[in-house]
C-alpha cells in the first residue's frame, strides 16, 4: 500500500505525478526533452540508459516500464535484457557501452564518474552533449526510482499493464495526456 493516498487507477509513477501536478510539470518536461527531444542518441538508446539505472536501483516499476518502451523502440527484447545483465556482451555499439557504463556509475554516485570513464566514451566518439545527456538521464532516473519506491506506489504484476504503458510512452511520450487519466478508471 502506498505511504500516502494515491489514485488507485494510476499505479507506479502516474498517480504520483497526478498527486501534485505543479511539481510534475517540470519533471515531465525534462523527461520529454531528454528521452524524446532532438539527440544524436536514438530514443531506444536513451530508454536503455533509463532501464539500466532503474534496474540497478532495483525499481521494478521503472525497470519494467522502460524495458517495455526500449523493446518496442528497438523492435526486439534481447538487447535490453543483455544490457541489464552484462553491458560488455550486449549487442550495442562500442560508444553505447561506454555511455551505459557511465550511467551505471552515476547510479552509484556522481563522484564515481572518473576521468577514465569519460575518456573511454570520448575515444569511442561520444560527444560532450551525449555525455551530458547520459549523466542527466541517469540522474533523473535516480529521482524517479526514489520517488516511486520512496512513497511505495503500487507496482502492477500483470505483464499486460506494462505492454500498454510501453505503448503509451512510445506513442505519447512523457507529457501529461491532454485528456488526463480519467479514462483509465475501471
Amino acid at each position: 500500500m502506498p505511504h500516502i493516498p494515491l489514485p488507485s487507477h494510476l499505479p507506479g509513477i502516474t498517480g504520483l505525478l497526478e498527486y501534485r501536478q505543479d511539481t510534475a510539470a517540470p519533471i515531465r518536461e525534462l523527461t520529454q526533452l531528454l528521452l524524446r527531444g532532438d539527440s544524436t542518441l536514438s530514443q531506444g538508446e536513451r530508454e536503455l540508459i533509463a532501464t539500466v539505472v532503474s534496474f540497478n536501483n532495483e525499481c521494478i516499476f521503472c525497470t519494467t516500464a522502460h524495458t517495455a518502451a526500449a523493446d518496442l523502440l528497438l523492435g526486439e527484447s534481447e538487447t535490453c535484457e543483455m544490457v541489464k545483465q552484462d553491458i560488455d556482451t550486449a549487442p550495442v555499439s562500442s560508444k553505447m557501452k561506454t555511455l551505459l557504463k557511465i550511467a551505471k556509475l552515476v547510479q552509484k554516485s556522481g563522484k564515481e564518474v572518473t576521468p577514465e570513464a569519460v575518456a573511454a566514451a570520448k575515444a569511442e566518439g561520444a560527444t560532450d552533449e551525449e555525455i551530458h545527456d547520459t549523466v542527466l538521464i541517469a540522474a533523473l532516473f535516480c529521482l524517479y526510482n526514489r520517488y516511486v519506491d520512496g512513497l511505495a506506489s503500487v507496482t502492477p504484476t500483470n505483464p499486460e499493464f506494462y505492454e500498454y504503458l510501453g505503448e503509451r510512452i512510445v506513442n505519447h511520450g512523457y507529457n501529461r495526456l491532454p485528456q488526463g487519466y480519467e479514462h483509465l478508471k475501471k
Binding site: 505511504h3 500516502i4 493516498p5 504520483l16 498527486y19 501534485r20 505543479d22 511539481t23 510539470a25 517540470p26 519533471i27 518536461e29 525534462l30 526533452l33 531528454l34 527531444g37 536501483n57 532495483e58 525499481c59 557511465i102 556509475l105 552515476v106 554516485s109 556522481g110 563522484k111 564515481e112 564518474v113 576521468p115 569519460v118 560532450d128 552533449e129 555525455i131 551530458h132 549523466v135 542527466l136 541517469a138 540522474a139 533523473l140 535516480c142 529521482l143 524517479y144 526510482n145 526514489r146 520517488y147 516511486v148 519506491d149 520512496g150 512513497l151 511505495a152
Partner: protein, 179 residues
C-alpha cells in the same frame, strides 16, 4: 576541470551546467523553484535544510553548501552555522516533525525502498501531513538527481562557506527561475 567543455569554466556547480544546455536548465530550475519556494506547509527554510542534508549524504559539496546557505538566509542565521547540518543539527533548531522528515529524506537518499511504514508513521505521529511526506520524498529524490548531475560531470565548487553567502541569499529571496 569539468568532464565536458563548459562555455564558462569559471561558473561553479550546476550554474556552469546550465550554461551548457539551457533547454534542460529551464525545467531543472522550475523544479527547484516549485519544490523549495512553491506552495507548501513546510517553510522554505525547512525545505532547504532537507535539500542541504541530502546533498551532504551524497557528498556533493556544491549543493550541500549552496542550499545550506539558502537555508541559513531563510532562517536569518549566519552562513557558517550551516556546518551544523553535517553534525545532525545540534545548534540549528529543528522541530520534532522536521526531524522525522529528515529521517525519511535520509532513507530516500539510500534508496526508495528504505523508507519504512514505521518511518512514515513516526512522521505522522509528529503531525506531518500527506503532502509534507510527499514533498519530503520528492525533494530528497530530486537532490539525488541534482547531486549526481553536478558531480557526475565533474564541476568545481568553491570550498569556503563564505563564498556561498550571496548565492544562498539569492536562492532564498530571488529564487531559481533564471530561464
Amino acid at each position: 576541470m569539468a568532464h565536458i567543455a563548459l562555455p564558462n569554466e569559471e561558473l561553479p556547480g550546476i550554474v556552469g551546467l546550465f550554461g551548457f544546455k539551457s533547454e534542460t536548465a529551464k525545467p531543472l530550475c522550475a523544479l527547484a523553484e516549485v519544490l523549495l519556494r512553491g506552495p507548501s506547509s513546510l517553510t522554505s527554510g525547512e525545505r532547504e535544510l532537507i535539500a542541504s542534508y541530502v546533498s551532504n549524504l551524497n557528498n556533493c559539496h556544491f549543493c550541500h553548501t549552496s542550499h545550506g546557505a539558502a537555508a541559513m538566509a531563510h532562517l536569518s542565521c549566519d552562513v557558517n552555522l550551516l556546518d551544523d547540518i553535517k553534525q545532525d543539527f545540534i545548534q540549528i533548531p529543528v522541530s520534532p516533525k522536521l526531524r522525522t522528515l529528515l529521517n525519511i529524506a535520509a532513507k530516500v537518499q539510500k534508496g526508495g525502498k528504505h523508507v519504512s511504514e514505521e518511518d512514515v508513521a513516526a512522521a505522522r505521529a509528529e503531525g506531518a501531513t500527506d503532502q509534507e511526506i510527499h514533498d519530503t520524498v520528492l525533494i530528497a529524490a530530486a537532490f539525488c538527481m541534482f547531486n549526481r548531475y553536478v558531480d557526475g560531470l565533474g564541476t568545481w565548487a568553491p570550498k569556503e562557506n563564505e563564498a556561498y553567502r550571496e548565492m544562498g541569499e539569492r536562492m532564498a529571496f530571488v529564487g531559481y527561475n533564471r530561464y
